[in-house]
Every structure is written in structure tokens, then in C-alpha cells.
Amino acid sequence: MILKIYYLSKLYLLEQIRRQVHLVTLFLAVILLMLPAYVNSFSLGLSAFERVAKDFGLTLISFYAVAMAIFLGVTAVSSDLERRTLYPLLARPIPRWAYLMGKFVGVLVVLVSSVLVLSCCLMLSIAALAKFADGQLIVVALCYALEASVLAAACIFFSTFSSPPLAGVLGVFLYFVGGLSQSFISFFLVEDRESPAVAMLARGLKMVMPHFDLFRVKNAVVYTLPLEPAYLLSITGYALAWMLLFVLLAERVFARKDL
């Protein structure tokens, strides 16, 4: 069965490469590699540049990962469904969960490998100036990849019961509400006596959603703070749990679907 999932992922990846999805990543990689060229125009000191470059680069990577996650998650299954390329595949002796898993693993590979490439480029271009390769950059970027993977799993789930545009909107909604930081909620919403209902709603919604803010550890590397391995481990476990949940939910819906 593992082998069949591998073949399904391979099919997905080959298709994505033929669709030139990887060129988008490469385009962004080039932008990141050219960062040092801006150093004079910033006319900041080297350490300030480093900070700005890390901040800018990582933000770019995180947006990219989120956009990719929503796009790939929403299209992974629905494009097969809409083009009906699903029929010959599901006629093969594979259970539907394996099909979903194959897609998800494919999306995962695209996300993680893109983020890896991009963060390596960022690290290199900063190292070119600062003469120091900061490996933590990659760790932070991988946390973004984790966040994006959870989001992608959610989007696959959404796409099993709604149209692609709606699934995309649900994904964006999940990303924003699930990503509200605790301090943001307590500061802006809970303290606001005018609308306790809104605060309740925000808290309640967030409670049942993945806490995306947990994955945003950019400050650690921008301000060179230490990153606890235990923390990294716990958010990885947290992310895997959510992914599993979303894939299981997707399977529940998908297995009952008339195609």
C-alpha cells in the first residue's frame, strides 16, 4: 500500500512539474538570491541589513508557502474530480484513503521542498554578506512549511465537500482566524467591552482551529533568540496531529461521495 501511495504521489508530482509549478519557486528563489544587491540601496549597517533581509525573506517565504498550500490543497483532488481523471485512478485496486494520502504526500513534498530551496537561497544570500550562514533560518522556514502543510490538509478536506473557490475561501478564513495570536485576541478583542460577543466568537472559533500562530517563530532568528528543540518537537507533533485529522475527515467525506 505504501508503494501505491508512492506511485500516486509520483503521478501528482510529475503532473505539477509538467505544469511548471516549480518555476514559481525558482522565480522566488532568484529574488531571494539577489537580496544582497539591495544592501547599498538600504544603506543600513550590515547587522541592520541582516535583520531586515531575514525578516523580509522569511515573510516572503511564509506568504509563498501559505499561497501554495491553499492553491495546491484546493486543486489536488478537485482538479482530478473536475477533469474526471479520477475515474481511471479510482478504478484501480486502491482504497480511497490511499488516493487522498497519495495526493497529500505529493502536496507535502512540493511544499517542503520549495520552502527548503527558498530558505537555503535566503541563507546563502545573507551569508554572502554577513560571512555567516545562519542555519536557524532553515528551521524557521520549515516551521512555516509545517504551518502550510496543515493548511493544505485542511484545504484538501474542504475541497471534498465544496467547490474549489469556496474551499479556497474557507482555507483563507481558517488561516486568518486560526492564526490570530492570543495576545491579539486578548488585546484588541477581549479588552473591547463594546463587543464581548465578537471576542467570544473569535476565541471560540480559534479554539477549534489549528493555532497557526504557534508555528511563527521568525523573531527567534531575526533577533537571534534561541529556539527550544522541545518546542520544535511539540509543534511538529501538533502539526502532524492536525494533518492526520484533516486527512481522516477528508476520507470520511470522500468515501461517501458519488463521483
Binding site: 509538467r18 478504478a91 486502491i94 458519488d258 463521483l259
Partner: protein
């Protein structure tokens, strides 16, 4: 072990649609014996594709049972023994034909060492031998259909379920396909296919099922269905009013045709001559599958 490749009992399916519901199957029964070539015909919207999708597990029935080679339809075991050609031929169009077929073979459980040769044989069988490296998107409609047939054959399954087998194929390809079906049949493979090409169904099928409005209306061999009795068709030109009791039907270009029992041929010919008509041809009356289908459909709609 039963000798039925497909066994469908009392299958019902109602789709939910925008405006309400659409009943697609209303108690469908089917039995296809192993080794048979079975033609599945019926008008558009009769429920052919719906029932085939249920056999594949792509659609869930509301009630009834369906067994594929003795396994519940849609189970992995059932799908392992079955090659499927979908009605609409769409495949991952960015993939090369051979490349995609190898992946299909792998998913179907063909061992790694056999895959490539199996795929090449399958592509050659459907006449795509010279286009193995082409991407699917570069194929014409008929070529995609051929690819679909190759994809159904690739794992060498004992049962083929082919929806709209001849759709988009040129006349030569249809002839070749007929040969292919007969050679597969010789190897003992069961073939269940739906088609709108009655001539093809007539020539290759051992058994034919006619479905209309979600129910099987007739089933049997071609002979059973056509019930070729000893009737004779007489084409003639001449007055029709005086021959009204023979019930003449207009045929092409001012000709009339009457159909009579063989024993009454002489009498009928005499009557036509007496009335001043001239005989054009006298031939055994032949019914076609189309006629049977038409008759069943009009009868079904009247009921």
C-alpha cells in the same frame, strides 16, 4: 464459486439534483456469465453509466446488491479483477502515454519487471505503438479512447467493463477492436461493454441486455431478442388504398413494403399484382437491434 462475472440484483439509485431528485436505476437486475461478451445497450440516460460506476464503486447504490467476480462491487478485491474504460476519456494530459500507463500498471499491481512490456503490448494492441512517448494532450479524441482501452487492458484482468467502447473511433479502428474483443474472448476474458453502435453489438456479443429507465427490459442472445420468425418483406410500387388490409408501410422513394408470414407470400404477391402493383423485391424480413430497442423504448414510455 459462482460462474457469474457480474451479478446485480434489485439495484436502485436516485441522484440528488438541483431541482429535486433523478431516479437513475429502478431495480436493475443483471447476470453476466464468465467468458461472455455482453453488450449493454439503451437510450441516453437509461442508466448504463450509473450502473457501471456502481460496479466500480465510484457511485454508491441506494439499495440492492452488486457482485463483481463474487466480490462486493467497489471492493479492492473486485477492482483487482477488473479493467475499466470510463465513458469520458480523460487522462492526466501532461503525462506521456507509456509513462502514465506504467504508473497505472503499478497501481494495478503488475510486478515491476513486467510493467514496461505489458504497457507496450497494450499500446500496440490498440494501435498506439508508434505514439508511446507522446503526451496524452497531443492525442486526438480517438487516440485518447484507444489509450483508455489500453489502460483497461494493462493489468490483463479477467473482466473488462467498458463504457461506450467505440466512442470516437474511426471505422477501421472499430473493425480492429472487434478483432481484439474476439481474441480476448478466446482467452476466456469476460467483456461487458455499453455501446450505441448496434452493428458492433450485433456482431460480437454472446448476450445483450437492453436497459431503459433504469430497468433491464430484455436480455438474451441476439437470436432471442430479434426473434427472427419466418416472415417475408415484399417491396412494391403501386396503389396502396386497395391493399389497405395488408397494411403497407412507405419505404424509400415511393416504394411500399409489406411484411407477411412466409406461408402467405404467394397470396400477398397475387393481391399486389391484382391491384396493379409491381413487385420490386421479395426478401426475408430482418429485424435489427435498433428496432427491438425502439420497440421497447416506445412501449416503456407508453406504460
Amino acid at each position: 464459486m459462482s460462474d457469474l462475472a457480474l451479478e446485480v440484483r434489485e439495484l436502485r439509485k436516485t441522484y440528488k439534483t438541483v431541482g429535486g431528485t433523478q431516479e437513475a436505476l429502478r431495480g436493475l437486475d443483471l447476470s453476466v456469465r464468465k467468458g461472455q461478451v455482453y453488450g449493454y445497450v439503451g437510450p441516453n440516460g437509461a442508466g448504463k453509466s450509473t450502473s457501471i460506476k456502481i460496479l466500480l464503486g465510484l457511485v454508491r447504490p441506494d439499495s440492492g446488491t452488486a457482485l463483481v467476480m463474487g466480490h462486493p462491487a467497489g471492493s479492492v478485491e473486485a477492482r483487482r479483477l477488473l479493467g475499466y474504460l470510463p465513458e469520458v476519456a480523460v487522462y492526466h494530459e501532461f503525462m506521456g502515454a507509456e509513462e502514465l500507463l506504467v504508473l497505472h500498471a503499478a497501481l494495478a499491481g503488475v510486478s515491476a519487471s513486467d510493467r514496461l512490456s505489458r504497457c507496450r503490448t497494450a499500446l500496440e494492441m490498440v494501435g498506439l505503438g508508434s505514439r508511446m512517448k507522446s503526451r496524452i494532450r497531443e492525442f486526438s479524441k480517438g487516440m485518447k479512447q484507444r489509450f483508455g482501452i489500453a489502460q483497461a487492458l494493462v493489468a490483463d484482468p479477467p473482466l473488462l467493463v467498458l463504457d461506450e467502447l467505440t466512442s470516437g473511433l474511426d471505422p477501421i479502428a472499430q473493425l480492429e477492436l472487434k478483432e481484439l474483443i474476439l481474441s480476448l474472448k478466446e482467452r476466456g476474458i469476460t467483456i461487458f461493454f455499453s455501446s450505441h453502435m448496434m452493428s458492433e453489438v450485433e456482431t460480437v456479443c454472446d448476450s445483450i441486455g437492453i436497459i431503459h429507465q433504469g430497468k433491464l427490459r430484455a436480455e438474451g442472445t441476439l437470436q432471442d431478442l430479434l426473434s427472427i420468425e419466418n416472415r417475408v418483406a415484399i417491396h412494391f410500387r403501386g396503389p396502396t388504398d386497395e391493399l389497405a388490409e395488408l397494411n403497407p408501410q412507405p419505404a424509400k422513394a415511393g416504394e411500399q413494403v409489406i411484411t407477411v408470414e412466409q406461408a402467405g407470400t404467394d397470396a400477398a404477391l397475387d393481391r399486389i399484382r391484382q391491384a396493379g402493383g409491381s413487385i420490386l423485391t421479395v426478401a426475408p424480413a430482418k429485424r435489427h437491434l435498433e428496432d427491438v430497442l425502439h420497440q421497447l423504448v416506445t412501449a416503456g414510455e407508453a406504460a
